[in-house]
Protein backbone atom coordinates (compact mmCIF):
# COMPACT_ATOMS: atom_id res chain seq x y z
CA UNK A 1 0.00 0.00 0.00
CA UNK A 2 1.62 3.29 -0.91
CA UNK A 3 1.71 6.17 1.52
CA UNK A 4 -0.74 8.24 -0.51
CA UNK A 5 -3.37 5.50 -0.08
CA UNK A 6 -2.64 5.17 3.60
CA UNK A 7 -3.12 8.91 4.11
CA UNK A 8 -6.47 8.81 2.34
CA UNK A 9 -7.52 5.90 4.50
CA UNK A 10 -6.52 7.68 7.70
CA UNK A 11 -8.47 10.74 6.58
CA UNK A 12 -11.52 8.50 5.99
CA UNK A 13 -11.25 7.41 9.63
CA UNK A 14 -11.00 11.01 10.80
CA UNK A 15 -14.36 11.26 12.56
CA UNK A 16 -13.43 8.46 14.94
CA UNK A 17 -12.68 10.12 18.26
CA UNK A 18 -10.73 8.31 20.94
CA UNK A 19 -11.53 9.12 24.53
CA UNK A 20 -8.69 10.76 26.44
CA UNK A 21 -6.47 8.59 28.64
CA UNK A 22 -7.74 10.53 31.67
CA UNK A 23 -11.27 9.23 31.13
CA UNK A 24 -10.07 5.63 30.86
CA UNK A 25 -7.87 6.05 33.89
CA UNK A 26 -10.69 7.53 36.00
CA UNK A 27 -13.14 4.76 35.18
CA UNK A 28 -10.45 2.10 35.59
CA UNK A 29 -9.29 3.41 38.96
CA UNK A 30 -12.85 3.56 40.28
CA UNK A 31 -13.54 -0.04 39.26
CA UNK A 32 -10.17 -1.37 40.43
CA UNK A 33 -10.40 0.63 43.65
CA UNK A 34 -13.78 -0.94 44.33
CA UNK A 35 -12.36 -4.41 43.66
CA UNK A 36 -9.36 -3.85 45.92
CA UNK A 37 -11.61 -2.44 48.67
CA UNK A 38 -13.79 -5.54 48.42
CA UNK A 39 -10.78 -7.84 48.71
CA UNK A 40 -9.57 -5.73 51.63
CA UNK A 41 -12.91 -5.92 53.45
CA UNK A 42 -13.08 -9.68 52.93
CA UNK A 43 -9.56 -10.37 54.18
CA UNK A 44 -7.90 -7.74 56.37
CA UNK A 45 -10.70 -5.31 57.32
CA UNK A 46 -10.42 -1.95 59.05
CA UNK A 47 -8.79 -2.24 62.48
CA UNK A 48 -11.24 -2.44 65.39
CA UNK A 49 -10.07 0.77 67.11
CA UNK A 50 -10.24 2.83 63.88
CA UNK A 51 -12.29 5.69 65.38
CA UNK A 52 -10.07 6.02 68.42
CA UNK A 53 -6.95 5.80 66.25
CA UNK A 54 -7.98 8.84 64.21
CA UNK A 55 -7.06 10.95 67.26
CA UNK A 56 -3.46 9.81 66.89
CA UNK A 57 -1.66 12.20 64.51
CA UNK A 58 0.74 9.43 63.44
CA UNK A 59 -2.24 7.33 62.34
CA UNK A 60 -3.58 10.24 60.29
CA UNK A 61 -0.15 10.90 58.85
CA UNK A 62 -0.20 7.48 57.17
CA UNK A 63 -3.14 8.58 55.03
CA UNK A 64 -1.58 11.95 54.30
CA UNK A 65 1.56 10.18 53.06
CA UNK A 66 -0.20 7.53 50.95
CA UNK A 67 -2.63 9.98 49.36
CA UNK A 68 0.10 12.54 48.72
CA UNK A 69 1.82 9.76 46.79
CA UNK A 70 -1.23 8.49 44.88
CA UNK A 71 -2.72 11.81 43.76
CA UNK A 72 0.48 13.41 42.40
CA UNK A 73 1.32 10.10 40.71
CA UNK A 74 -2.02 10.24 38.86
CA UNK A 75 -1.24 13.80 37.73
CA UNK A 76 2.29 12.88 36.62
CA UNK A 77 1.16 9.66 34.93
CA UNK A 78 -1.41 11.49 32.82
CA UNK A 79 1.19 14.02 31.82
CA UNK A 80 3.60 11.26 30.77
CA UNK A 81 0.88 9.89 28.50
CA UNK A 82 1.14 13.04 26.36
CA UNK A 83 4.11 13.23 23.98
CA UNK A 84 6.19 16.41 24.19
CA UNK A 85 4.31 17.69 27.23
CA UNK A 86 6.91 18.90 29.73
CA UNK A 87 6.42 17.70 33.31
CA UNK A 88 7.24 21.13 34.74
CA UNK A 89 6.31 21.59 38.41
CA UNK A 90 4.31 18.36 38.45
CA UNK A 91 7.37 16.21 39.01
CA UNK A 92 8.05 18.04 42.27
CA UNK A 93 4.68 16.94 43.65
CA UNK A 94 6.14 13.47 44.07
CA UNK A 95 8.52 14.88 46.70
CA UNK A 96 5.52 15.68 48.91
CA UNK A 97 5.09 12.21 50.49
CA UNK A 98 8.84 12.03 51.12
CA UNK A 99 8.81 15.39 52.93
CA UNK A 100 5.76 14.44 55.00
CA UNK A 101 7.26 11.11 55.96
CA UNK A 102 10.66 12.60 56.79
CA UNK A 103 8.94 15.17 59.02
CA UNK A 104 6.98 12.38 60.72
CA UNK A 105 10.13 10.35 61.34
CA UNK A 106 11.91 13.39 62.80
CA UNK A 107 9.05 14.04 65.23
CA UNK A 108 8.81 10.34 66.10
CA UNK A 109 12.51 10.14 66.93
CA UNK A 110 12.49 13.34 68.97
CA UNK A 111 9.66 12.27 71.26
CA UNK A 112 10.16 10.07 74.33
CA UNK A 113 8.31 6.80 73.73
CA UNK A 114 7.46 3.54 75.45
CA UNK A 115 9.10 1.37 72.76
CA UNK A 116 12.65 1.74 71.45
CA UNK A 117 13.01 3.15 67.94
CA UNK A 118 14.17 -0.24 66.72
CA UNK A 119 11.01 -1.90 67.99
CA UNK A 120 8.84 0.79 66.42
CA UNK A 121 10.61 0.33 63.10
CA UNK A 122 10.22 -3.44 63.08
CA UNK A 123 6.62 -3.14 64.26
CA UNK A 124 4.26 -6.07 64.59
CA UNK A 125 2.85 -6.43 61.12
CA UNK A 126 5.66 -5.97 58.62
CA UNK A 127 5.13 -9.22 56.73
CA UNK A 128 1.42 -8.57 56.24
CA UNK A 129 2.32 -5.08 55.04
CA UNK A 130 4.77 -6.41 52.45
CA UNK A 131 2.19 -8.83 51.08
CA UNK A 132 -0.97 -6.76 51.41
CA UNK A 133 0.16 -3.57 49.71
CA UNK A 134 1.46 -5.28 46.54
CA UNK A 135 -1.53 -7.64 46.44
CA UNK A 136 -4.11 -4.85 46.86
CA UNK A 137 -2.29 -2.72 44.31
CA UNK A 138 -2.40 -5.33 41.53
CA UNK A 139 -5.94 -4.58 40.28
CA UNK A 140 -5.19 -0.86 40.48
CA UNK A 141 -1.89 -1.27 38.62
CA UNK A 142 -3.62 -3.21 35.86
CA UNK A 143 -6.27 -0.50 35.51
CA UNK A 144 -3.66 2.25 35.51
CA UNK A 145 -1.68 0.52 32.75
CA UNK A 146 -4.82 0.06 30.66
CA UNK A 147 -5.66 3.72 31.14
CA UNK A 148 -2.17 4.91 30.18
CA UNK A 149 -2.22 2.65 27.12
CA UNK A 150 -4.93 4.92 25.76
CA UNK A 151 -2.43 7.74 25.91
CA UNK A 152 0.92 7.78 24.15
CA UNK A 153 3.70 7.44 26.73
CA UNK A 154 6.99 7.97 24.92
CA UNK A 155 8.83 6.76 28.04
CA UNK A 156 6.93 3.54 28.71
CA UNK A 157 9.07 2.23 31.59
CA UNK A 158 8.87 5.54 33.44
CA UNK A 159 5.12 5.79 32.87
CA UNK A 160 4.79 2.21 34.14
CA UNK A 161 6.80 3.06 37.25
CA UNK A 162 4.51 6.02 37.94
CA UNK A 163 1.51 3.70 37.47
CA UNK A 164 3.18 1.50 40.10
CA UNK A 165 3.54 4.48 42.47
CA UNK A 166 -0.08 5.48 42.11
CA UNK A 167 -1.38 1.96 42.63
CA UNK A 168 0.88 1.39 45.63
CA UNK A 169 -0.31 4.73 47.05
CA UNK A 170 -3.97 3.78 46.72
CA UNK A 171 -3.38 0.24 48.03
CA UNK A 172 -1.41 1.58 50.98
CA UNK A 173 -4.28 3.96 51.79
CA UNK A 174 -6.54 0.93 52.17
CA UNK A 175 -3.97 -1.06 54.08
CA UNK A 176 -3.21 1.83 56.44
CA UNK A 177 -6.71 1.57 57.90
CA UNK A 178 -5.96 -2.03 58.91
CA UNK A 179 -2.31 -1.67 59.89
CA UNK A 180 -1.81 -1.58 63.70
CA UNK A 181 1.63 0.06 63.31
CA UNK A 182 1.39 3.84 63.28
CA UNK A 183 5.02 4.84 63.78
CA UNK A 184 6.39 6.87 60.85
CA UNK A 185 9.53 4.72 61.22
CA UNK A 186 7.46 1.67 60.34
CA UNK A 187 5.79 3.44 57.43
CA UNK A 188 9.11 4.76 56.11
CA UNK A 189 10.55 1.26 56.13
CA UNK A 190 7.87 -1.21 55.16
CA UNK A 191 5.42 0.90 53.18
CA UNK A 192 8.37 2.24 51.20
CA UNK A 193 9.69 -1.24 50.54
CA UNK A 194 6.26 -2.44 49.39
CA UNK A 195 5.89 0.64 47.19
CA UNK A 196 9.31 0.02 45.64
CA UNK A 197 8.28 -3.53 44.75
CA UNK A 198 5.11 -2.35 43.04
CA UNK A 199 6.97 0.46 41.27
CA UNK A 200 9.53 -1.98 39.89
CA UNK A 201 6.76 -4.28 38.70
CA UNK A 202 5.05 -1.29 37.08
CA UNK A 203 8.25 -0.26 35.29
CA UNK A 204 8.80 -3.79 33.94
CA UNK A 205 5.19 -4.13 32.83
CA UNK A 206 5.16 -0.61 31.40
CA UNK A 207 8.26 -1.21 29.28
CA UNK A 208 6.36 -4.04 27.56
CA UNK A 209 2.75 -2.93 27.64
CA UNK A 210 2.91 0.83 27.21
CA UNK A 211 4.78 0.94 23.90
CA UNK A 212 2.57 2.23 21.16
Amino acid sequence: MDTEHLIRTLAADQDWRSRPAGAWLTVGLICAGALSSMIFMMTLRVRPDFMAATHNPFFDLKFAVTLSLAIPAIVVGLRLARPAAPLGWRGWLLVLPVVLLAGGVAVDLSMPQRLSWGARLVGSNSRVCLVAIPALSLPVLAAALVGLRHGAPTRPALAGAVAGLLSAGLAATLYASHCPDDSPLFVATWYTLATALVTAAGALAGARLLRF
Binding site: T3, R8, T9, L10, A11, Q14, R19, P83, G151, T154
Partner: protein, 202 residues
Protein backbone atom coordinates in the same frame (compact mmCIF):
# COMPACT_ATOMS: atom_id res chain seq x y z
CA UNK B 1 25.10 -0.31 25.20
CA UNK B 2 24.51 -0.23 21.47
CA UNK B 3 20.81 0.29 21.97
CA UNK B 4 21.46 3.21 24.30
CA UNK B 5 23.83 4.87 21.87
CA UNK B 6 21.35 4.38 19.08
CA UNK B 7 18.67 6.05 21.10
CA UNK B 8 20.84 9.06 21.82
CA UNK B 9 21.71 9.47 18.19
CA UNK B 10 18.11 9.38 17.14
CA UNK B 11 17.12 11.83 19.86
CA UNK B 12 19.73 14.30 18.74
CA UNK B 13 18.83 13.85 15.12
CA UNK B 14 15.17 14.54 15.54
CA UNK B 15 15.73 17.39 17.98
CA UNK B 16 18.10 19.09 15.61
CA UNK B 17 15.43 18.84 13.00
CA UNK B 18 12.82 20.57 15.10
CA UNK B 19 15.17 23.44 15.72
CA UNK B 20 16.29 24.08 12.18
CA UNK B 21 13.39 23.33 9.88
CA UNK B 22 10.11 23.59 11.62
CA UNK B 23 9.63 27.03 13.04
CA UNK B 24 7.95 28.35 9.88
CA UNK B 25 5.67 25.40 9.22
CA UNK B 26 4.73 24.87 12.80
CA UNK B 27 1.91 27.38 13.01
CA UNK B 28 0.44 26.18 9.71
CA UNK B 29 0.45 22.58 10.95
CA UNK B 30 -1.03 23.63 14.28
CA UNK B 31 -3.85 25.48 12.51
CA UNK B 32 -4.56 22.51 10.25
CA UNK B 33 -4.63 20.12 13.19
CA UNK B 34 -6.96 22.39 15.14
CA UNK B 35 -9.35 22.47 12.17
CA UNK B 36 -9.04 18.70 11.93
CA UNK B 37 -9.90 18.41 15.62
CA UNK B 38 -13.01 20.45 14.93
CA UNK B 39 -14.05 17.88 12.31
CA UNK B 40 -12.54 19.27 9.10
CA UNK B 41 -11.54 16.17 7.11
CA UNK B 42 -9.93 18.15 4.31
CA UNK B 43 -7.67 19.97 6.76
CA UNK B 44 -6.72 16.62 8.26
CA UNK B 45 -5.88 15.18 4.85
CA UNK B 46 -3.80 18.25 4.02
CA UNK B 47 -1.97 18.04 7.31
CA UNK B 48 -1.01 14.40 6.78
CA UNK B 49 0.17 15.18 3.27
CA UNK B 50 2.17 18.15 4.51
CA UNK B 51 3.96 16.31 7.30
CA UNK B 52 4.78 13.19 5.25
CA UNK B 53 7.80 14.55 3.31
CA UNK B 54 9.22 16.00 6.52
CA UNK B 55 8.74 12.68 8.31
CA UNK B 56 10.37 10.93 5.35
CA UNK B 57 13.42 13.19 5.45
CA UNK B 58 13.74 12.84 9.23
CA UNK B 59 13.40 9.07 9.01
CA UNK B 60 16.04 8.80 6.29
CA UNK B 61 18.35 10.91 8.34
CA UNK B 62 17.71 8.78 11.42
CA UNK B 63 18.36 5.58 9.48
CA UNK B 64 21.58 7.00 8.05
CA UNK B 65 22.82 8.03 11.48
CA UNK B 66 22.10 4.56 12.81
CA UNK B 67 24.00 3.02 9.93
CA UNK B 68 20.88 1.46 8.43
CA UNK B 69 19.91 1.57 4.74
CA UNK B 70 17.89 4.73 4.12
CA UNK B 71 15.82 3.11 1.39
CA UNK B 72 13.78 1.38 4.13
CA UNK B 73 12.31 4.67 5.25
CA UNK B 74 8.84 4.35 3.77
CA UNK B 75 7.68 1.54 6.07
CA UNK B 76 8.68 3.62 9.07
CA UNK B 77 6.97 6.71 7.63
CA UNK B 78 3.75 4.71 7.36
CA UNK B 79 4.13 3.49 10.90
CA UNK B 80 4.58 7.08 12.07
CA UNK B 81 1.48 8.19 10.18
CA UNK B 82 -0.57 5.39 11.74
CA UNK B 83 0.64 6.34 15.22
CA UNK B 84 -0.09 10.02 14.58
CA UNK B 85 -3.59 9.05 13.52
CA UNK B 86 -4.34 6.69 16.41
CA UNK B 87 -2.81 8.90 19.10
CA UNK B 88 -3.85 12.34 17.89
CA UNK B 89 -6.19 12.74 20.88
CA UNK B 90 -3.07 13.00 23.08
CA UNK B 91 -2.13 16.28 21.40
CA UNK B 92 -3.13 19.28 23.52
CA UNK B 93 -4.64 21.68 20.99
CA UNK B 94 -3.43 24.72 22.88
CA UNK B 95 0.18 23.59 22.29
CA UNK B 96 2.12 23.72 19.00
CA UNK B 97 1.72 20.57 16.90
CA UNK B 98 5.29 20.01 15.68
CA UNK B 99 6.90 19.01 19.01
CA UNK B 100 4.16 16.44 19.55
CA UNK B 101 4.57 15.13 16.01
CA UNK B 102 8.31 14.79 16.40
CA UNK B 103 7.99 13.07 19.76
CA UNK B 104 5.74 10.47 18.11
CA UNK B 105 8.06 10.14 15.11
CA UNK B 106 11.15 9.78 17.30
CA UNK B 107 9.42 7.10 19.32
CA UNK B 108 8.47 5.11 16.22
CA UNK B 109 11.89 5.50 14.67
CA UNK B 110 13.65 4.22 17.79
CA UNK B 111 11.25 1.28 17.92
CA UNK B 112 11.77 0.48 14.26
CA UNK B 113 15.54 0.70 14.56
CA UNK B 114 15.56 -1.67 17.52
CA UNK B 115 13.47 -4.18 15.63
CA UNK B 116 15.41 -3.81 12.41
CA UNK B 117 18.73 -3.94 14.21
CA UNK B 118 17.85 -7.31 15.60
CA UNK B 119 16.44 -8.57 12.35
CA UNK B 120 19.43 -7.48 10.32
CA UNK B 121 21.81 -9.29 12.65
CA UNK B 122 19.76 -12.45 12.62
CA UNK B 123 19.15 -12.58 8.91
CA UNK B 124 22.32 -11.19 7.45
CA UNK B 125 23.37 -14.52 5.94
CA UNK B 126 20.00 -14.99 4.30
CA UNK B 127 20.43 -11.80 2.36
CA UNK B 128 24.14 -12.07 1.67
CA UNK B 129 23.62 -13.65 -1.74
CA UNK B 130 20.95 -11.25 -2.89
CA UNK B 131 22.11 -7.90 -1.60
CA UNK B 132 25.46 -7.16 -3.24
CA UNK B 133 24.39 -7.84 -6.83
CA UNK B 134 21.17 -5.85 -6.84
CA UNK B 135 21.33 -2.14 -7.57
CA UNK B 136 19.87 -0.31 -4.58
CA UNK B 137 16.78 1.64 -5.48
CA UNK B 138 16.26 5.04 -4.00
CA UNK B 139 13.27 3.93 -1.98
CA UNK B 140 12.05 0.41 -1.49
CA UNK B 141 8.27 0.31 -1.87
CA UNK B 142 6.74 -0.14 1.56
CA UNK B 143 5.61 -3.70 2.16
CA UNK B 144 4.94 -4.10 5.85
CA UNK B 145 1.43 -2.62 5.95
CA UNK B 146 0.38 -4.68 2.94
CA UNK B 147 1.76 -7.91 4.38
CA UNK B 148 0.04 -7.38 7.74
CA UNK B 149 -3.18 -6.51 5.94
CA UNK B 150 -3.42 -10.17 4.89
CA UNK B 151 -3.47 -11.40 8.48
CA UNK B 152 -6.32 -9.16 9.70
CA UNK B 153 -9.76 -10.61 10.52
CA UNK B 154 -11.70 -10.93 7.22
CA UNK B 155 -14.14 -8.06 7.87
CA UNK B 156 -11.40 -5.57 8.69
CA UNK B 157 -9.25 -6.80 5.83
CA UNK B 158 -12.06 -6.44 3.27
CA UNK B 159 -12.93 -2.95 4.45
CA UNK B 160 -9.30 -1.79 4.43
CA UNK B 161 -8.70 -3.45 1.09
CA UNK B 162 -11.65 -1.60 -0.37
CA UNK B 163 -10.88 1.82 1.10
CA UNK B 164 -7.09 1.79 1.12
CA UNK B 165 -6.19 -0.27 -1.91
CA UNK B 166 -9.19 0.14 -4.21
CA UNK B 167 -9.80 3.78 -3.14
CA UNK B 168 -13.51 3.27 -2.53
CA UNK B 169 -15.42 5.62 -0.25
CA UNK B 170 -17.05 4.47 2.97
CA UNK B 171 -20.44 4.57 1.24
CA UNK B 172 -19.28 2.51 -1.76
CA UNK B 173 -17.58 0.04 0.56
CA UNK B 174 -20.75 -0.34 2.60
CA UNK B 175 -22.89 -1.19 -0.42
CA UNK B 176 -20.23 -3.43 -1.96
CA UNK B 177 -19.79 -5.51 1.20
CA UNK B 178 -23.49 -5.15 2.17
CA UNK B 179 -22.63 -3.62 5.52
CA UNK B 180 -24.02 -0.51 7.19
CA UNK B 181 -21.85 2.61 6.95
CA UNK B 182 -21.47 2.52 10.73
CA UNK B 183 -20.16 -1.03 10.59
CA UNK B 184 -17.70 -0.03 7.86
CA UNK B 185 -16.44 2.82 10.03
CA UNK B 186 -15.97 0.52 13.02
CA UNK B 187 -14.18 -2.12 10.92
CA UNK B 188 -12.00 0.58 9.37
CA UNK B 189 -10.91 1.96 12.73
CA UNK B 190 -10.36 -1.47 14.28
CA UNK B 191 -8.43 -2.53 11.19
CA UNK B 192 -6.12 0.47 11.45
CA UNK B 193 -5.61 -0.12 15.17
CA UNK B 194 -4.78 -3.81 14.62
CA UNK B 195 -2.43 -2.90 11.77
CA UNK B 196 -0.57 -0.57 14.11
CA UNK B 197 -0.26 -3.23 16.81
CA UNK B 198 0.92 -5.82 14.29
CA UNK B 199 3.51 -3.41 12.94
CA UNK B 200 4.98 -2.90 16.37
CA UNK B 201 4.99 -6.64 16.91
CA UNK B 202 2.81 -6.92 20.03
Amino acid sequence: MIAIRLRNNVREGANGYVGTQLSGRDSEWTDLMRSADAGDTIAYHRLLKAVTPVMRAATRRGLARAGQPVDQAEDIVQEILLAVHLKRHTWDNTAPFAPWLFAIARNKLIDALRRRGRRVFVNIDDFAEVLPGDPVEDTVPPGEVASHLESLPPRQRDVLQSIAVESASIKETASKLSMSEGAVRVALHRGLASLASRLRGT
